[in-house]
């Protein structure tokens, strides 16, 4: 790449006909050259870069409005409450299932053992 090539790119920059790739290439070249022939284009590029930076800052500042904070907090709270409700409901369902399973197990155990009282009563009746 020779100087003429970058001169041509500089000209195209002023004409606003550069492709993005060519613009990146020109920016890389300008950041490393001390050639005074490119001072003009460097000044213009620097001016626009400063302008972009200043605008970007302004836009970012606009994001810090109180309602943005309020919305963010409200959204976070809604998310936490939503998740808590879902988890709480799941736990309730799980607990009810566990209690039902416990009742079923204990009913099975306490209903299936030998009825000692009844057996003794039968034996005593038979002996009389």
């Amino acid at each position: 790449m020779n100087k003429n090539y970058y001169k041509r790119l500089s000209q195209k920059y002023f004409d606003a006909t550069l492709s993005q790739r060519q613009e990146r290439r020109l920016m890389r070249f300008l950041s490393g050259t001390e050639d005074p022939d490119f001072d003009e284009v460097k000044a213009v590029v620097g001016f626009f870069a400063a302008g972009r930076s200043a605008n970007g800052l302004a836009v970012r500042r606009m994001d810090f409005r109180p309602w943005v904070y309020a919305s963010a907090v409200a959204a976070s709270l809604a998310l936490v409450v939503g998740i808590s409700l879902i988890v709480g409901n799941a736990r309730r369902v799980s607990y009810s299932e566990s209690l039902a399973s416990m009742e079923s197990t204990l009913t099975s155990i306490f209903s299936s053992g030998a009825d000692v009282e009844s057996e003794l009563s039968t034996l005593l009746t038979q002996n009389k």
């Binding site: 607990y95 566990s98 209690l99 399973s101 416990m102 009742e103 197990t105 204990l106 009913t107 099975s108 155990i109 306490f110 209903s111 299936s112 053992g113 030998a114 009825d115 000692v116």
Partner: protein, 149 residues
């Protein structure tokens, strides 16, 4: 450091209180006798058991062969030796049913071990339950014995 000691002590005390308090079946509940992979364990504790006059319910259900079943039987029989009251039923020398009333905890709570096993084609379907609370065996019987209703 002091705070850490308090936290660790509380954790240790909580674990100790929750364990089966020196029972042989503790090995079973801890998965040291039968692989936890083949056991279904249910643990319920706290206020949800108030209606049943209990504070801890732990159950295990699993299916095992003769050898493993015999190991479980031994644990239950060992624990029954400390029982204050018990009902145990055998079929052909195999323990198939047990309700064991264990000595009370140092806080005065009743403890029970319940056991039920059914054999089908050399596979034993086993359920072991540990209960702790203020309920007496009569309370449990009236709550869960369908024959009373």
């Amino acid at each position: 450091m002091k705070r850490l000691t308090v936290i660790l002590s509380a954790l240790f005390l909580g674990t100790a209180l929750f364990a089966q308090e020196g029972l042989y079946v503790e090995d079973l509940f801890e998965g040291r006798v039968i692989s936890p992979k083949i056991m279904k364990q249910t643990v319920i504790s706290g206020s949800r058991l108030e209606a049943y006059k209990l504070d801890t319910y732990k159950s295990l259900s699993f299916q095992v062969g003769e050898g493993a079943f015999h190991q479980v039987e031994i644990l239950l029989i060992k624990d029954s030796s400390a029982a204050t009251d018990k009902q145990m039923e055998y079929i052909e020398d195999h323990l198939t049913y047990a309700v064991i009333c264990l000595p009370k905890t140092y806080t005065g709570l009743n403890r029970f071990l319940c056991f039920q096993a059914k054999e089908d084609k050399d596979v034993w379907d086993v359920t072991v339950v540990y209960l702790r609370g203020t309920a007496s065996v009569e309370d449990l019987d009236s709550m869960f014995n369908k024959r009373n209703k």
